[in-house]
Amino acid sequence: MTDKIKHHLSDDLLIAYSAGLLNEAFSLMVATHVSLCDTCRAQLESFDAVGGAILEGSGLPDVPQVAMSPDAIDAIFATIDLAPAQETRAARRKDDVLPAPLQDYVGGDLAAVKWRPVGMGVKQAILPTAKGATARLLYIPAGAAVPDHSHNGTELTMVLKGAFSDEYDSFGPGDVETADQDVTHTPVADISEDCICLAVTDAPLKFKGVIPRMLQPFLRI
């Protein structure tokens, strides 16, 4: 699949994910896409490497360090003695449609999704993410259009199965469409197959406290 992906995540999104500044719904989009896309995974890893280099100390003259408490390491060894090494997440089965990060939210593959009709044969399932943005799965019958849906902010839509087209372009498995709030578009599923997508929208994002408000315009989220 990975070679066929034409529409990728923006660097801005990947940087924000790498820096840990994205909200949960958009993080879910990034994690899902990166699970399928080697190009974006490599790009993300290079941003992580920037974070690592800064942690290691290539930034400002003095590497920031704060001494740990003297008994920290003993406390850690005590914790380690209580619990064994952590297991990795079980690999996704080959025929599964939903990548692992989505399955974590759905509680399984497609069969576990609790769809609700939203009209014209289209169904959706809202995923439980933190406030500030919404993530949902969309089920669009072959040949059907997504009913008029308004979004105030940015909406990212990624194809998981099937394909859709709108006035601007066409999107297959793994492709992400980015629609800003000034874009009006009508996605229509290809007639050959029902289309399943992950869509995330920011109901205008509100960063709180120490989370940088200034990155909002920078990230166009």
Partner: protein, 225 residues
């Protein structure tokens, strides 16, 4: 160089005999790390000759639950992680607790570290960043799928070395950035940018900040070619 150094002066506590760190490797990807493209793996890295071989130490933790190896990693990285968390707004007590969590996670997930895809510093950064999200926002952090291990694909020592060398090159490239760009990149990744702080400190409009970050990343890409 990052060769296994069994005999350096500091290894007396690390006496467990281990083979070369034989981490399993993922299937090679068609795309290399774009910013860290391996152009010339044999070009001499400016590796600090005094720096311990972090990759080997993580292998010792993984294979031998080597506490002395862990202590070395802890000694170097824990104070950096704690500073990172405090920059993000945690007080000293919370940062201490979370930094301990990060180091505990490192021990428990040592088998998941892939030295052909990340340096030890990068790996620790991702663990610390995830802990910070949890600490500050109490949100879940969706993670991509792990790449599936290929049974036949043992990492070559060359792959490990070239990634670690590239990481050192990147570190140097960031060091060489103009101060203004370096500072913004650092703040962006340490997550302590806030609108009012930036405005108060620099008076820069958002557009300028944005373009400086872009410029810095372009420079890094260029430097890595």
């Amino acid at each position: 160089m990052l060769n296994v150094r069994e005999h350096n002066s500091e290894s007396s506590a690390l006496r467990v005999p281990v083979p070369m760190p034989a981490f399993r490797v993922v299937h090679p990807l068609p795309v290399g790390n774009r910013a860290l493209k391996r152009k010339n793996a044999s070009s001499a890295p400016k590796t600090d000759p005094e720096a311990p071989d972090w990759v080997m130490l993580i292998a010792r933790i993984r294979d031998h639950q080597d506490r002395a190896a862990f202590a070395r990693v802890f000694q170097h990285f824990a104070p950096r992680v704690k500073a990172f968390l405090m920059k993000s707004g945690a007080d000293a007590t919370l940062a201490e607790e979370c930094a301990q969590d990060v180091m505990t996670t490192l021990w428990r997930k040592a088998h998941m570290f892939d030295p052909t895809r990340a340096s030890v510093a990068t790996w620790i950064f991702t663990i610390a960043r995830n802990r910070r999200i949890d600490m500050l926002r109490r949100q879940r952090r969706p993670e991509p799928e792990e790449l599936t291990w290929g049974p036949e694909a043992e990492p070559t020592q060359e792959d490990v070395l070239s990634l670690q060398e590239e990481s050192e090159k990147l570190r140097q490239a960031i060091t060489d950035l103009p101060d203004a760009q370096k500072e913004l990149i650092e703040r962006a990744f340490f997550g302590d940018l806030s609108h009012s702080e930036i405005a108060a400190e620099t008076g820069l409009p958002l557009g300028t900040i944005k373009s400086r970050i872009r410029l810095a990343l372009d420079r890094l890409r260029h430097a890595m070619k």
